[in-house]
Point group: C2
Chain length 152, copies 2
């Protein structure tokens, strides 16, 4: 398939992730909480945006899988002739190759964040950091949708 | 702050999310699993990539918060004069306004996915869908990094 042009919105790389893995054949398929220490280096001007992140034991790390193909609708990850839909996999190959991990926060030192639990190549561009979903209580005032429960 | 240009990588919108919320003042601050039914409409040519997604009770939904400012390093979500670093919040305002939710999958009907647990505006552009992290076992063969545990 010819992938449609990726021009609907633009990203800015806000940092770089340093991991022990320099080849795609070595990286873990999924991060593990007892995995090796990895370093997230945040670029200026975003360093002050880290204020308060150290209060969370786990953080969501969002990154750009910069070496991935973007044109596969079906994939055969086990290379056994069977195919699966791209959205039923967590493969790096996808129309928008965005990786998300929940990492264990080890420490924040100026512009560097130390974590465990990543699964990406050394040099992977960083897109975003957030407190892990379950650990976070929004400080913003309540909104009507907060109280809305399901219809059918 | 003048935000740096967002030209490091490009995104393609692969669908559109339909929710009950048409104003930012109404949307929930965080989705709830018993929240209203929402519809994710996937565009051609990505519909075949949904194959197999219906085997997962929860899916990760990644979307583009298209109305958000991207230039704030510090924010005051409670509007009380105190500020917090952008990366210590799950606010939609961030350098790359990417939202992630774990949604409960209700059903897949051709190009439409029915879910609960979203927190975004009606019309939000869709970037990606993945099986929820904990429910997914990679079908790809093991790699050395899978077995690598932490040094200090």
């Amino acid at each position: 398939m010819a992938a449609p042009p990726a021009t609907d919105a633009g990203l800015v790389f806000i940092g770089r992730i340093r991991t022990p893995w320099t080849s795609r054949l070595e990286t873990p398929r999924q991060g593990r909480t007892d995995g090796p220490l990895c370093r997230i280096e945040v670029f200026d001007p975003w360093v002050p945006a880290l204020a308060g992140l150290d209060r969370f034991a786990q953080i969501e790390v969002i990154y750009w899988l910069h070496l991935s193909r973007r044109d596969l609708v079906l994939q055969s990850p086990a290379n056994d002739g069977t195919t699966r839909g791209t959205f039923s996999l967590r493969s790096p190959v996808r129309p928008n190759p965005i990786g998300t991990s929940i990492a264990t926060l080890v420490g924040v030192e100026q512009s560097t964040i130390l974590v465990r639990g990543l699964d990406c190549l050394d040099g992977t561009p960083l897109l975003d950091l957030k407190p892990a979903r379950g650990l976070f209580t929004p400080p913003a005032p309540p909104q009507p949708g907060d109280f809305q429960v399901g219809d059918t």
